[in-house]
């Protein structure tokens, strides 16, 4: 558009509006990181601190006193990594089958996959808890990464990608050369799925990392809490250690923020593609 580059008054106003929105959205993150470096008295001073302080290590020490924080971090990492690894393999396999193979019932089965995305999650909260109880998985990380190990959104994304980006000739050629089905998948299809696997991996990791209701329902002992649950358990009505809590929040947020900065475009595209085309 021709008016896009001139600094007209209306463009200045637009930029100001959009910029104000960015500030509004970024401010809470800024305060989380700033508060992580102050002690409780500083945080609640008037005016509140706007710049970094010197209490970060003290806050972390306090955090370690109140929570088995490293174990919680490890649990979060473990659950998110397992969920992601399983999803990458299982969704790619299923997506490959739906994109490339012809088989009886394919349409109905795929409709089932897509339809399963429509079920609201709260409906499953209570019975899932009971299934976990029956399986003896309460308080075990398995209860968090097994149920979602082959997500419907992932299957959908992988099917779209494999169907459009991987030449059929290549797959046919591999078969001609005597590759078995698994071999074709693993040595020919998977290496070409890089971008889709990257997007799917990020989405899965972020969702698993941030999951709150899942661990809330099945995890019992503080050592097995994931980060969100652990941080919430530190909140108490009157004497929450806000500095320590903000340090914990900052540590929990940082890996995702960094990953997001490097992959925002792809991630946004992947998430909305799944939602829009679904």
């Amino acid at each position: 558009m021709s008016h896009a580059d001139r600094l007209t008054p209306s463009r200045v106003m637009t930029l100001a509006l959009v910029g104000a929105g960015v500030v509004l959205l970024a401010a809470p993150f800024w305060f989380t990181f700033v508060f992580a470096t102050h002690d409780r008295a500083d945080i609640f001073a008037n005016p509140p601190p706007l710049w970094f302080g010197t209490h970060f290590l003290a806050n972390v020490a306090l955090l370690l006193e109140r929570l088995p924080f490293w174990r919680n971090l490890g649990m979060s990492l473990y659950v998110a990594t397992m969920t992601t690894a399983l999803n990458l393999v299982l969704c790619a396999l299923a997506g490959y089958a739906f994109a490339v193979h012809e088989f009886a019932g394919k349409k109905i089965l795929f409709a089932l996959v897509v339809g399963s995305m429509m079920l609201p999650s709260f409906l499953n909260m209570i019975p899932t808890f009971m299934v976990m109880d029956l399986l003896g998985w309460i308080d075990s990380p398995r209860a968090l990464y097994v149920p979602g190990a082959a997500g419907a959104l992932g299957i959908f994304l992988m099917r779209q990608y494999i169907g459009s980006a991987i030449p059929r000739d290549l797959i046919d050629a591999a078969r001609m050369d005597g590759c078995g089905e698994l071999r074709t998948f693993w040595s020919v299809v998977m290496p070409l799925c890089g971008p889709a696997l990257g997007t799917l991996g990020l989405i899965t990791f972020i969702n698993a990392w941030n999951n709150f209701v899942g661990p809330l329902v099945v995890m019992r002992s503080v050592e097995h809490y994931t980060l969100p649950l652990a941080l919430r358990s530190m909140q108490s009505p009157n004497n929450t250690e806000w500095g320590a809590l903000m340090a914990g929040s900052a540590i929990a947020m940082l890996p995702l923020l960094v990953a997001f900065v490097f992959s925002a475009r792809r991630l946004v595209a992947g998430l909305t593609a799944g939602a829009v085309r679904g």
């Binding site: 558009m1 959009v18 970024a26 809470p28 396999l93 609201p120 909260m125 009971m130 078995g180």
Partner: protein
């Protein structure tokens, strides 16, 4: 696939040794069964952790069951749990709260996201990816971390918000009215970027020629928004509003974390999903809790259906395609 098989046969040497023939047969069978093996993990997991729990919760909702007494202690009560839930004043109150949040956080989300997406689309070029990314960050951040920082920012005596506002401090989280406003704001804040991104993706599909022609005809930015973008965005509006509706009616995490259960305003911000959670995990009444979850499901289904009627058939079918 069929082409493949015939071409396979055509290129095969005319005289097959028996060993090769059986290998080929085996391979053909494997190729037939392989896709089922490949999609099996999803269906097994969905069966065990999706479908079975779902059916089980229907069964459960028709029983009275004391969680502590084990599965044998279930006994059939028919629709009693539903009757009990419907007549429970707390259920009605939780529903009203849920609807209030759905409107108070949902309507502003779209009223802001639509024009904002249009402005970003028509004004920004180089900085667009940065801005879109910034708007999207809350969506990929832990709800707990978000609730915790907002708890400090909205703190009555020491919070940043009250420090910036003139006048007497507002009890954002301790007063029933303000607590609801605060929660609605946090939900708005968290999902605004998501909606902007959705609308931007729809705007990118609209041909630039349309705006250009309108500019030549002397249409103002507002007119371009009102008469070109808005009508073409209708299918996406339907889709985005449906997502907001479904999401907001299940609202749980934000009020659950922002307002401690022993707070004086806890009941004023209790959503139906929270009511269900409390019924199951605090009171141990899994039967009624399941009935509540199904009632909520039907309400969501009804409102989603109403929404699709409101948008008319064309809006809905455009998205379904």
């Amino acid at each position: 696939m069929n082409n493949m098989l015939t071409s396979d046969a055509a290129t095969a040497p005319p005289a097959l040794v028996p060993a090769d023939a059986s290998r080929a047969r085996w391979r053909r069978r494997a190729r037939k069964l392989a896709p089922y093996a490949f999609i099996a993990p999803f269906f097994v997991l969905f069966g065990v952790f999706g479908l079975f729990p779902l059916l089980f919760s229907i069964w459960l909702s028709l029983h009275q069951w004391d969680a502590a007494a084990g599965l044998a202690a279930m006994h059939w009560v028919g629709l009693e749990n539903y009757k009990y839930a419907v007549t429970d004043p707390w259920f009605a109150k939780s529903l009203l709260n849920t609807l209030w949040f759905a409107v108070a956080s949902g309507v502003p989300q779209h009223l802001v996201a639509l024009p904002l997406a249009f402005l970003i689309h028509t004004t920004l070029k180089r900085s667009r990816n940065f801005v879109v990314g910034a708007y999207f960050v809350p969506y990929v951040t832990s709800s707990v971390a978000i609730a915790l920082i907002f708890t400090t920012l909205f703190s009555k005596d020491f919070g940043v918000i009250n420090a910036m506002l003139p006048g007497p401090p507002i009890d954002w989280l301790g007063d029933a009215f303000w607590a609801r406003i605060t929660i609605a704001f946090v939900v708005f804040w968290r999902y605004l970027g998501w909606n902007v991104v959705l609308y931007l993706s729809a705007l990118q599909v609209i041909s630039g020629d349309l705006y250009e022609a309108a500019t030549l005809d002397g249409a103002s930015r507002w007119q371009q928004f009102r008469y070109i973008a808005l009508p073409l965005l209708k299918p996406m509006m339907f889709f985005a509003i449906t997502l907001t509706l479904i999401g907001n009616l299940q609202l749980f995490e934000e009020p659950f974390i922002l307002i401690p259960p022993d707070s004086g305003v806890a009941t004023s911000v209790m959503t139906t999903a929270m009511f269900m959670y409390r019924m199951a995990f605090s009171d141990g009444d899994f039967g009624t809790a399941s009935a509540v979850s199904w009632l909520l499901f039907f309400i969501i289904a009804a409102l989603t259906w109403g929404n699709s009627r409101l948008f008319g058939k064309e809006g809905a079918s455009d998205v379904a395609r």
